[in-house]
């Protein structure tokens, strides 16, 4: 029973992968929303988005994550650091108020909390493969063509807003939409909202972003 939950599918990894995907989507890009209008030339945006994404070889950033539980009027705030290196290496370190690390390097993944660390082969199940594909789409700037989401794009003077709605049943269980707020000046992401079907929401806000700096391979050691 409970054992199966943990054992069968490497569930910890699956859900952390969902976050990695969200973050990767967020940092690669850049309802109707107040102050925003629909992007008229979606094809041009897609092309520009792919072009700008292709220029990004690495990202280093701080982040603040806020999980809001709507019905319980509770919010938990955590913060940490994010690294990305082309083509498929991602590391997320939560440092406050708890420590937790996720590293994704190709087909392999490391999850480390303050007690244990686990290594997972991403290829071990279908959901991993699906999430991996989403991540690669993000890295390559082709997420807007992905069949995993239907995407609407909005803009105001300074930012693009990408509203991504999951298509698959599996992703729909966790996310109603993932909304990215992308700065027009450099196509980097200011924030990402992960909206759950329950109305709860996780917002990640990035700061101190550095694009294309040297990032050692050792950062992603498993």
């Amino acid at each position: 029973m409970f054992r199966n939950f943990i054992q069968n599918k490497g569930i910890v990894a699956k859900y952390t992968l969902l976050l990695i995907t969200g973050l990767t989507v967020a940092l690669q890009v850049s309802a109707q929303y107040a102050g925003y209008k629909s992007v008229n030339d979606l094809a041009a945006f897609k092309k520009q988005f792919a072009t700008e994404s292709a220029k990004v070889q690495s990202i280093t950033s701080d982040f603040v994550q806020q999980k809001e539980l709507l019905a319980l009027t509770e919010t938990i705030t955590s913060s940490g650091k994010f690294w990305f290196k082309r083509s498929n290496r991602v590391r997320i370190d939560y440092t406050k108020p708890f420590t937790y690390r996720m590293v994704m390097n190709g087909d392999k993944m490391l999850v480390k909390d303050d007690q244990k660390e686990s290594r997972i082969n991403v290829k071990s199940n279908k959901l991993f493969q699906q999430v991996n594909k989403i991540m690669i789409d993000c890295v390559q700037g082709t997420i807007l063509d992905s069949k995993d989401f239907t995407t609407r794009v909005f803009e105001n003077d300074k930012t693009y807003l990408l509203e991504m709605t999951p298509v698959s049943k599996t992703l729909k269980e966790f996310f109603q939409t993932i909304v990215l707020n992308v700065e027009k000046k450099d196509y980097s992401v200011k924030s990402i909202d992960m909206n759950e079907p329950s109305g709860d929401k996780t917002t990640i806000t990035f700061s101190n972003k550095v694009l294309n700096a040297q990032v050692a391979d050792e950062v992603f050691a498993l």
Binding site: M1, R3, K9, K67, T77, P97, Y100
Partner: protein, 206 residues
């Protein structure tokens, strides 16, 4: 071969031995029960580790006292994805507000429900306590459907040592709490004795 037979016999005897055989019924002590009776965790966030039969999972657990006197227990992963949300109402009823598909099994929900109920002090809310003495400890028990929920103090009734759930003969679950204020303990350990499972909580200072 003879040694093997004796070993098996010894194991069987050990397995059948009652954890509560040595306890002796004593007169109820209302002063002690009122002083020590666990009222349960009120509102706090915890980092959480669950180890089940050699497997490990971590996340964040929120215990929230609601204005209507119900309590909610929400377990998410570090990234914010909600795994479960249980509601324990003031009238004793229980509702699963949310649970992911992989955890949506009656046995899992009942197991976690019982563990959380012990942490929340729910079995002791309106208990008529039976009392026992065993070694240097005093047991105060409230019968449940098939089990008994105990809270256990030292002989001097100075403090709560642990909460325990047991069948007629065997100890099944213990809950230990540490910290100055047991309505928001600094850490909690829930240990199962009929199979290998431990839940560890450590309070998050926000």
């Amino acid at each position: 071969m003879k040694f093997l037979h004796y070993s098996i016999l010894l194991l069987l005897v050990a397995a059948c031995a009652s954890d509560y055989k040595a306890r002796k019924a004593v007169a109820p002590d209302s002063v002690c029960t009122e002083k020590i009776k666990p009222v349960g965790i009120k509102t706090a966030w915890y980092t959480t580790h669950i180890d089940v039969i050699g497997k490990h999972i971590s996340g964040l657990l929120l215990v929230k006292q609601m204005p209507d006197s119900s309590k909610r227990v929400v377990f998410t992963n570090e990234a914010g994805v909600t795994f479960l949300d249980f509601e324990f109402r003031a009238d004793g009823s229980f509702q699963v507000k949310q649970v992911i598909k992989q955890l949506d099994r009656k046995a899992v929900i009942q197991l976690l429900r019982k563990d959380f109920e012990l942490m929340l002090g729910i079995p002791f809310r309106k208990g008529v306590y039976e009392s026992w003495q065993m070694n240097d400890e005093r047991y105060f028990g409230v019968p449940q459907k098939k089990e008994t929920a105990y809270f256990i103090t030292g002989a001097d009734c100075a403090s709560l040592r642990r909460i325990e759930l047991g069948s007629k003969r065997k100890k099944k679950v213990t809950v230990e709490m540490w910290g100055d204020n047991l309505t928001t303990p600094d850490s909690v350990k829930v240990k199962h004795y009929t199979f290998n499972m431990v839940i560890g909580l450590k309070k998050i200072e926000r």
